[in-house]
Each structure stands twice: as C-alpha cells, then as structure tokens.
Amino acid sequence: MNERYSRQELFAPIGKEGQANISAKHVLIVGAGALGTGNAEALVRAGVGKLTMIDRDYVEWSNLQRQQLYSEDDAKARLPKAIAAKQRLAQVNSEVEVEAIVGDANVDELQRIAAETKPDVIIDATDNFETRMIINDVSCKYGIPWIYGACVGSYGISYTFIPRKTPCLHCLLETMPVGGLTCDTAGIISPAVQMVVAYQVAEALKLLVGDEQSLRGKLVSFDVWNNQHTAIRVDQVKKEDCPSCGTNPTYPYLSYEMQTKTAVLCGRNSVQIRPAGKREYDLPQLADLFAKQGLRVETNPYLVSVSLGEHRLVVFRDGRALVHGTKDIQEAKTIYHRYLG
C-alpha cells in the first residue's frame, strides 16, 4: 500500500472506504476533447477502477491549447484521440484499466457498452446534442447516471442526471437545440473547460463513493470572463409523460428514425448528412455566423455554402448537409458537428 491516495482518503466524505469504492467502479467518458481529457486525467489520478473512453477524432494542433492529455507529437502523428489519451493516462496512473475505443459514439455502440460493460457513471464530453440525446436515452434505459457538461467561449454549464430521480435532458430541452455556436466557431478558453471539468468530476466522485445526498441537484452555469454564476433547481421540469424518462418510455433517440443518416454520393467525392429529428435553420443568420469567423460563405434562399480548406459544407434549411471533398463518413460527420453542433 503506497501513499498515492492518502490526501483523498484524508478528505472525510471519501475516506478509506470511499477510496475502495472508487477503485471498484467503472466510468464511461463519451468524447476525448477538452472536457473528456480533463475528466479522464482527474478520474485516473483519483484511482477509478476502470475508464472507458470513446472518440472518433484525431489530435490536431488546434486541440493543444486546452486538451490536456495531448502533446505536439500526438498532433504531428495525427494520433486518434482515444489512443493518445490512453498512452498518457498509462503514464499518469498505471493501476487504472483504460479502454480506448476509436469510433463513433452512436446508438449501437453506446448500447453495447452500457449492456456489456455496465459503467457506473457516464460523463458527457461530447460536442453535440444529438449524441447527448442518445446518452440520455441510454441512461434512462439502463439506469446509469450521467453528467452533462458543455462550454463555449468563457461560458460553461453542467447538470447531473439521475434516472428516476431528476428530470432527464429530454424533459429540460423538449426539442433539440440547433444553431451554429460551437467551440470551432465561437472559440473557447481553457478556464471555462476546467471549471466544467471540476463540476463534473466532483459530482462523479460523489456518485462513485455513494454520497448521493451531496449531489448539487441544480443546473449550474457560469461565465468566467463576464463574472457570472447561476444555479437553478429544475426538479419541477420533470415530465411524467416524457418519452425518455416518463412512465411509458419509448427511448425515441435509440430508434432508427432519430439517427443521423449518411450517404456517400457516388462519383461526387461528397457525403450527404441528414440529421436526427426536425431542424429548421435561419439561413441568413447561419451565413452571418460563418462570415464572422472569417469563412468564405455563399448563400441563396435555399442553402448556405461555406468553404473550409479542401472541404465545402453546404447546409439546407432543414439541416440536411453535403460535405464535399471527402468520401469518409466519419470525417464528414466531424465537420458537420464542428460547424453545426
């Protein structure tokens, strides 16, 4: 027995018993970007028993400013994020079993992980609401708590969803948010990331040691640049007839109709993406948002076309998009979510 966790064990709400609990638990982190790497490092240092990370992307130079597990070598090698994260985490704490999955966190994969590996907690470190709605339905169906976290610019937000106790994300949102404001269009500073990570990890530790009474219970948001902080108790938003967490759940985001459909267009070096659910874009507003990022935008009443280096993204009013310059569905999806959330 070494001193590795002594300071955490001295913290009374955890203690030796809590530490033993932590080391017997399994956490799934969906996404290995800024929030994913922050959560992963903290939980691996805290001595969680097993960590599963899933991500479809690879390390780029623009990640290094805030994605704390990655180095210049990873960016040079364009290493898949899950692999680069696993390598670094093994240096940080070799006692923790880390499973890295390079792939899409889609309905089938998330259900497989939930059913086969039974994580105790799911941490949301994704960059889009489509995946979050899938996580939400998986959480409701398999009874696994999940911790929402998101940030853009200097703003961040977090909430802990406990099946059968709190409202679910579907209760809170009613419809899927659409819009062009993502980290790749509005920027992001690392303190906003770290603040969300701190909220998520604190809640995860409470769940792992079984101290549910200490959970925050509120939807929290803050802006570290404009010096704001607010927290709202949202219990009353829980809906008995919610299709995800209500009395007769149908888990709509696990159904085929609600999944993003993709198709490689023959002979055109393009991928078509049809997003889940109903979307309605204000095209002039979308064009304006892209233009403000210094991107070259062309528009007509039916579509917005934006040039992105070797790729071109064409968005229609209903959210359908064409990604030109690739036949790779994963790459096209990454571009789509990067610019449209």
């Binding site: 800024a34 470190a125 948010p177 819009g179 404001l181 902080h229 607010t230 938003v237």
Partner: protein
C-alpha cells in the same frame, strides 16, 4: 426597470416588459434556455405573457453544445 439577473442588479430598457422581450434583449431568444423568476421556473409557452416587475429576481441558464 431594474431586475436582479443572475444575481446582478441590471437596469433594462423600458420597452422590456416580458420574459420574451428580455431574452431578445440578451440575444438568447434563438437558444434553449431555462428561465426562473422569483424562484419559479417559467414554462416556454408563457414567455410572451409573463410580465416582469421592477426588482424581480431572474435566473437565466442557456444550453450550449461545445465540449
């Protein structure tokens, strides 16, 4: 009118009368937000009709997607 928004006393222009007006003023009307007035959450369909009064305590949390 003066409102306490997210804990801060803020003077808002006179034309702001409802929650819907306030969300437009802060450019949050296109986003999905949870709004609480004097410790009660207001349903989205009531934003247009919920009048704000001087001194009301308003909390606004809007959802973002990045991560």
């Amino acid at each position: 009118m003066e409102l306490v928004i997210n804990g801060e006393l803020i003077h808002v222009p006179d034309h702001i009368r409802t929650i819907a007006d306030l969300l437009v003023h802060f450019q949050l009307n296109q986003k999905i937000a949870i709004v609480e007035v004097n410790a009660h959450i207001v349903q989205k369909q009531e934003y247009e009709t919920t009048a704000l009064c001087n001194g009301d305590r308003v909390e606004i949390v809007h959802f973002v997607g990045g991560g």
